[in-house]
């Protein structure tokens, strides 16, 4: 079975069946990448951290954000030393991490540097009850993400 890859600015995502993925660029002095991934229909109009999308996701929904920060941030304490996670656990998720608090939803946020580029990974799960089933799906999706130099 052939795999579908989406690539832009050095970021490559292996698209999973039935998932919505969208790449965009954030305005700024230098272009920064923003990638949204979801196992449900992403609304066209939504915020960088998923406002407009997380409200409509069901209990089995997964919403993921990969947001690039300005290159100067890579040496900051927040990002340095962090690597892109690929094996998150249910315990890594909490309702307190959500950018937009919605009952029963869980979130996690990880800051890291990949190929010298600082990123934040933000993940929202549809419900506490389904989290044990959804977290392995998140990890499977993350293993299909690779980040190279933006010139590639």
């Amino acid at each position: 079975m052939s795999r579908t890859l989406l690539t832009a600015n050095g970021i490559t995502v292996t698209v999973r069946d039935g998932w919505d993925v969208e790449f965009s660029e954030l305005a700024g002095e230098s272009p920064r990448s923003l990638v949204h991934l979801a196992n449900f229909s992403l609304p066209v109009e939504r915020g960088d951290y998923g406002s407009g999308a997380v409200e409509i996701m069901g209990s089995a929904g997964i919403f993921m954000v990969l947001m690039e920060f300005d290159a100067t941030a890579s040496s900051s304490a927040l990002f340095s030393g962090g690597v892109m996670p690929t094996s998150l656990a249910v315990a890594d998720f909490s309702g307190h991490t959500l950018q937009r608090r919605i009952p029963n939803q869980l979130g996690t946020q990880r800051f890291f540097v990949a190929s010298g580029r600082p990123f934040v990974l933000y993940v929202v799960l549809g419900s506490t009850r389904t989290a044990p089933l959804l977290v392995p799906e998140v990890n499977r999706t993350l293993t299909g993400v690779s980040i190279a130099d933006s010139s590639q």
Binding site: T4, L6, T7, A8, V15, D17, G18, W19, D20, V21, E22, F23, S24, E25, N39, F40, S41, P43, V44, E45
Partner: protein, 237 residues
């Protein structure tokens, strides 16, 4: 004199070939524009108001996720699975028949048939359509993307063309073309109805087959015996 005649003859022959070549290229361009649904006739809008066709040529074929780019944006992938319908509207920026759909899809009161139906407008890649025009035409809140690969995958003959997908089965429920939204909507309602009755027919068919063997509601063969009861029957045998 003879040399001059020969040169003139050769020149006429070459010019004739060039003219034929140009005419052929012109015909190819006209045919390509026609295939893309673009008419050069300013008065053709009234002509194209007549229904084109309402067909279901690709019903029950497998549906594939759509991969392409957002006009003026980055790469995008749209999943067509799940407990919902997806309506793919294959459109062009320059096709006159499409103009009515571009404005129709702007309406927040657009009534889409099916289960939580999601509308996805699919144009050709920027190499084959005007990306800047697509940015202008894209209705707010409606996923609009460029994907010539999707046109190929769904055997789109020209624009406008519509494909309805049932996400629960990942199959094409119906497809076809028309000149206005009420016609398309009617096609889709009919296709959904046909798909449902097809399922009902299958179920009825199974019942009819069982009835032909004397198996009807309440027949013991439809209810496996209790394991304890089965053991006692085996012991008695």
């Amino acid at each position: 004199m003879i040399v001059l005649l020969i040169v003139a003859f050769v020149a006429i022959a070459v010019l004739t070939l060039i003219v034929f070549g140009l005419l052929r290229t012109h015909a190819d361009i006209l045919r390509a524009l026609d295939r893309a649904g673009i008419s050069l006739d300013e008065n053709s809008a009234s002509l194209s108001a007549a229904p084109v066709s309402l067909t279901q040529p690709s019903r029950n074929r497998d549906a594939a996720d759509i991969v392409g780019t957002v006009p003026g944006g980055g790469p995008v992938s749209v999943g067509v699975g799940g407990a919902r319908h997806t309506l793919l509207a294959f459109m062009s920026s320059g096709c006159k028949t499409c103009a009515t759909f571009w404005s129709e899809f702007e309406s927040p009161a657009l009534d889409l048939p099916g289960e939580s139906t999601r509308l996805v407008i699919v144009a050709q890649d920027p190499a084959h359509d005007s990306e800047s025009r697509l940015v202008e035409l894209a209705p707010s809140g409606v996923r609009t993307m460029c994907s010539s690969a999707a046109w190929e995958a769904y055997d789109v003959p020209g624009s406008p063309y519509f494909v309805l997908i049932d996400g629960s089965t990942r199959k094409v429920t119906g497809s076809g073309t028309a000149t206005n939204w009420p016609q398309v909507r009617q096609l889709l309602v009919q296709a959904i109805g046909d798909a449902k009755s097809g399922t009902a027919h299958s179920a009825n068919g199974v019942s009819a087959e069982l009835a032909a063997f004397g198996i009807g509601p309440g027949h013991p063969s439809l209810y496996p015996p209790d394991p304890a009861e089965r053991r006692s029957q085996e012991d008695n045998e």
